[in-house]
């Protein structure tokens, strides 16, 4: 049960966050933070297919995470889900076409090792 939940969390988080980044990239930089402008941006984003799919995937991830917290400690849940960093960085390069230079690869690798050390 624990590993099934981890699998669901990792898959839905990765898909959700990559879709979220793709949707927001398509929307373009948000520059106006007055309440009315934020409301208009949310209205536009609510019709963005990438964002809708991202919210659905992240809702799955959220409820699976709630379920995991009831049967496992944070010290198990956090490092087990840190694998999403690797998957998302790879997808950022190949799907989102970001320039992942070597500093970002090294930085992401250090972060993954660090997360494992902090939470194990």
């Amino acid at each position: 049960m624990k590993w099934l939940l981890i699998g669901i969390i990792v898959a839905s988080t990765t898909v959700g966050e990559v879709l979220q980044a793709a949707g927001m990239r398509r929307h373009g930089e948000i520059r106006d933070f007055r309440p009315g402008a934020i409301g208009r941006a949310l209205t536009v984003l609510a019709r963005n297919r990438f964002v809708i799919a991202a919210v659905a995937a992240m809702a799955v991830s959220f409820f699976a995470y709630l379920g995991l917290l009831t049967i496992a400690d944070l010290s198990f849940a956090v490092p087990a889900t840190a694998v999403t960093y690797v998957l998302e960085t790879v997808l950022a390069k190949y799907v989102l076409k970001e320039h992942v230079n070597w500093l970002r690869w090294v930085g992401a690798s250090l972060v993954i090792c660090g997360v494992a050390l902090v939470s194990l």
Binding site: E17, V18, Q20, A21, M24, R25, R26, H27, G28, E29, I30, L45, V51, M58, F62, F63, L66, G67, L69, T70, I71, L74, V78, Y85, E88, T89, L91, A92, K93, L96, K97, E98, H99, V100, N101, L103, R104, V106, G107, A108, S109, L110, V111, C113, G114, V115, A116, L117, V118, S119, L120
Partner: protein, 140 residues
């Protein structure tokens, strides 16, 4: 260009702070409010009305919206490692608020995360793939 660069960097840092703090405190309140077990599907819904869980959920909504705004201009491969500084904050809050021990192993992990965040944030601009050219692939 340099002015634009500085503007984007300041904006990125401001939002990264909001993203990190809302996530750390959101998780903290969620964990605090969660009951030992969620027996039925209905329990997953009713637990959302528990005060600590509701506060946690509210902060997670702030987290999601601020992260969406951040991703509207910054790369995912930049946002991911930089916001990982939250793990460091969790360890420090645990020590300050809950009197938890920070072992050598945890200090080593904190050091690695800080080094990773410094490399990514110092070694590249927040944005490499330019908006508006989504079909043409990466800019620059």
């Amino acid at each position: 260009m340099t002015h634009e660069h500085a503007r984007l960097r300041l904006k990125t840092w401001s939002f990264a702070v909001v993203v990190v703090f809302s996530n750390v405190f959101g998780n903290f309140f969620l964990k605090r409010g969660m009951p030992p077990a969620l027996a039925t599907p209905l329990a997953y819904i009713t637990v959302l009305f528990h005060p600590w869980v509701a506060l946690g959920v509210l902060l997670m909504i702030v987290w999601m919206l601020s992260r969406m705004a951040l991703l509207s201009w910054a790369d995912l491969s930049y946002v991911l490692p930089v916001t990982a500084v939250g793990y460091v904050l969790v360890a420090i809050l645990g020590k300050v608020l809950l009197n938890e021990q920070i072992t050598m192993q945890r200090w080593a992990g904190i050091g690695l995360i800080v080094a990773g965040v410094a490399l990514v944030s110092g070694g590249s601009a927040p944005q490499t793939a330019h908006p508006g050219t989504e079909t043409a692939g990466p800019g620059q």
